[in-house]
Amino acid sequence: MLALSLSACGGAGTASDEKSLTVTMWGGQAQSAHVASYFTPWAAESGVTIKEDSPTDYAKIETQVNAGKVNWGVVEVEPNFANTACEKGLLEKLPQRVIDAAKAAGVPEAQMGECAIPNLQYTFSIAYNTEVFADKHPTNWAEFFDTKTFPGKRGFWKYATGGLFEAALLADGVPADKLYPLDLPRAFAKLDTIKKDIVWYDTGDQQTQLVASGEAPLVQAWNGRITKAAAEGQAVANDYGQNLISYDQVVIPKGYPNAELAADWMVWFLGNGQAQADDAVASGYGPVSSDAIGLVPEADRKDLAGSEEVSKDSAGLIDYSYWAKNYDSVTEELNNWIAK
């Protein structure tokens, strides 16, 4: 933390501007953890100044690129945006050395993009209140949708990419490997059955609030948030049955002056399992390199996406190439359905 502040203060000088990298992520304590684990050590090694900004804003990326004044170097984004923006030419294509580094690190092919590498993974899993469901809790999406056996409100993220369609189809008996392309009418039909019990959340804070307070004792949540809350002694827990794996990606906006530096960092990051492991411990999000998970202490491992424990129950990866194509239209359909 101290090193960061010193370097940030030094960033005002023009001389050091040539070797600076601006990192933009979603913000909050997660960003602090990411920067401390896998930006600051690299910056110290290579004599680069890290500048931080938050939160990510897609409009800013587009405006910067269109205006030809790109301030952001490495930006954490959702994979569907990375896909679309890459096609629209808003992002730098990955240089070969980054692609090679990713292969060498064993990053899953599906999580790579033409312009993006993953920086963390997490799951959409079943979060439940351990006091409300002390004896028995839902262990798969069919049970999650069963309001008779498990009464109470259900929390969903109010965005199309929030995993609710996948969960609805799995609950309705669609096999995990036949999810995409999504059968939306069927998904909406399944969602209709619990519509009156759905509580929509927007922010990460709301999901823990909902579960912990018992207001919505069942929430389709990001596992890391629930793990953290449980560690603080709140009455919440994850069940990883049929969990849906998701991930964030980092990209380089097109025309960033220090794009080479950003690529340098990507190569370093992919090859540095220890840094990823440190971040996983600090932030609760899973690492992306295959060797990194082994470097995480045993006790923290079982709740990380990418670990054996979580993977074995997983229903698979959310297919963001599908979402890149269909996000806008499904968003409109979802908004219409909610408003109905």
């Binding site: 940030a8 931080e52 938050s54 205006a67 922010t203 953290k228």
Partner: protein
């Protein structure tokens, strides 16, 4: 009897409204004292952890300083431009009066989101994003209508004869403005300045667009993590600013009392006031 009943009901209502205004503000204090990394109320355990974090993380201090600088500067510019415009609106004659007034009040009406985006596109090319100047320009737009409205209202109630008297007694228009008009409308000007200051201090929507690694204001820093998690340090910051405002009010009260005491003493000796 009826009247007493009505008064009691009125007082009861006002008490509820007062509670309604105050409660969300006061709840923030215990929230900030929680040891949990989630915003909770009531807190399970008390700790100063989040205050400690404010001290440890210099970026909070930097953003607070940036906010203060922007708020003070934009309030100052707002007061100058807004007071001049109010004088023109109340006293002056100029063409296209309705259209001009509409332009002057437009910042009250245009949603900040639109302003933020529009200004971001324009400022990026001018290199004004992430600069104090950029923030001050935008926040002045947002704050200036409040100054104008307040000062106009104040000006209307100024007795024109006082200004006539001053000019009759040998003061020119400028001198008259500073010695007579301005002191008389000072409460309105200060109220307008306060509004402008707070508008800037608490403004998050346009600031999100203008902020960057080189300059981030406090509300943006508070807002930044929201999609993931609200940092309880935010509650600590709020509690601190609450502390500042309460002590300001107390200080103002003390100054008023001291001034009264001095006034009383001064009235014993003549001609000192000249």
């Amino acid at each position: 009897m009826n009247r007493i009943l009505a008064r009691t009901a009125l007082i009861l209502l006002a008490a509820i409204i007062g509670l309604y205004l105050l409660l969300p503000v006061l709840v923030v204090v215990p929230m900030s004292l929680s040891s949990s990394s989630f915003l909770t109320f009531p807190p399970k355990e008390l700790s100063l952890r989040w205050y400690q974090q404010l001290l440890d993380d210099p970026s909070w201090g930097r953003s607070a300083f940036a906010s203060l600088k922007v708020a003070l500067l934009s309030a100052t510019v707002s007061v100058i431009l807004g007071t001049l415009a109010a004088l023109a609106l109340v006293r002056g004659r100029f063409p296209f009066r309705n259209a001009v007034t509409a332009v002057l009040l437009a910042p009250l009406i245009v949603p900040y989101v639109i302003v933020g985006l529009a200004v971001y596109i324009a400022f990026l090319n001018l290199g004004l994003t992430e600069t104090t100047l950029g923030f001050v320009l935008v926040h002045t737009c947002l704050g200036v209508p409040y100054v104008m409205i307040n000062v106009s209202t104040g000006l209307v109630s100024v007795d024109r004869r006082l200004e006539m008297a001053s000019m009759n007694l040998g003061a020119g228009p400028v001198s008259t403005f500073f010695r007579i008009t301005l002191p008389l409308i000072l409460p309105s000007v200060l109220a307008g300045a306060l509004f402008a200051f707070i508008t800037s201090w608490d403004e998050v929507v346009t600031a999100i667009f203008l902020s960057g690694p080189d300059m981030t204001t406090m509300p943006v820093k508070m807002w930044s993590g929201i999609r993931v998690q609200v940092d309880p340090a935010v509650a600590a910051v709020s509690s601190l600013s609450l502390l500042v405002i309460i002590s300001t009010f107390l200080l103002m009260g003390a100054v008023k009392m001291i001034r009264k005491m001095i006034d009383r003493r001064a009235s014993l000796t003549m001609n000192e006031g000249i």
